[in-house]
Symmetry: C2
Subunit: 149 residues, 2 copies
């Protein structure tokens, strides 16, 4: 079985997601795209990533249908990269990573960037998994129902 | 500036999170730990990962305070790896990855494993970012407030 077949046959949605975006640069490119970044040179400058690695990750994200490469509004030879609808739906993933980082990886009082609602300038609520009746669920109150073999 | 210093100085919580867990194997190890997996040999068998890579990722996750290495209940030379409280708080990240995968990476009707509430056997609600008054927020309704330079 080739690697590609193994991935496509993977019955776990976490594994399929991680296969496409479980990579430091891919996740940071998606974060920057949510911030409105579009140009190769802007990603490169902001991330401090080597050109060949950035080009590879952008190509993979386009192939995965997460980014769309399109000519710039000005025309010319340059392309810009924008999130597709599929890419936009990664918003909860980026927000979950942000909220865990805010909670766990900053000292009390240490400054960090904030994601806020434009209309109110207030930070978002902390996202948390809930059951179908809206009750908060701890990990131990859930289980993975695997496919029958 | 060394890589370590650059990371610690990083004011973006997404970047700090991604630095610790933005890696295919680390994310899959954390997923398996939520499923109750504890032993090196079980992770190895389930993930099909090389022993040296698995050992490296487990060590990093322990250093990051996400997993705790402890003697097995039976005693003996073996260790087992369990999620710390910090690790447990990654639950929304894993659920967000799962829900995106379910929505985007399976064909209609294609079977996948399900995360369900034990008590009801029902799948969880889809997580979504909301503002402080509980209203659903699209990415464009939010913005990152960066730190002043």
């Amino acid at each position: 079985m080739t690697k590609k077949e193994a991935i496509n046959a993977e019955p776990c949605p976490v594994a399929r997601s991680v296969d496409l975006i479980g990579d430091r640069w891919s996740l940071l490119i998606v974060r920057d795209a949510f911030d409105g970044m579009r140009r190769f040179t802007d990603f490169q400058r902001n991330l401090g990533v080597a050109r060949n690695i950035l080009a590879d990750r952008l190509r993979r994200l386009v192939e995965a249908g997460i980014l769309l490469a399109q000519p710039t509004a000005k025309g010319g030879a340059y392309q810009e990269y924008v999130l597709t609808e599929r890419g936009q739906r990664l918003f909860p993933v980026v927000v979950a990573l942000r909220q865990w980082g805010e909670l766990e990886l900053f000292a009390p009082g240490e400054a960090h960037s904030d994601l806020v609602e434009k209309k109110t300038s207030q930070p978002l609520r902390r996202m948390a998994p809930v059951g179908e009746d809206g009750n908060l669920l701890a990990p131990g109150e859930t289980e993975v129902r695997k496919l029958p073999l």
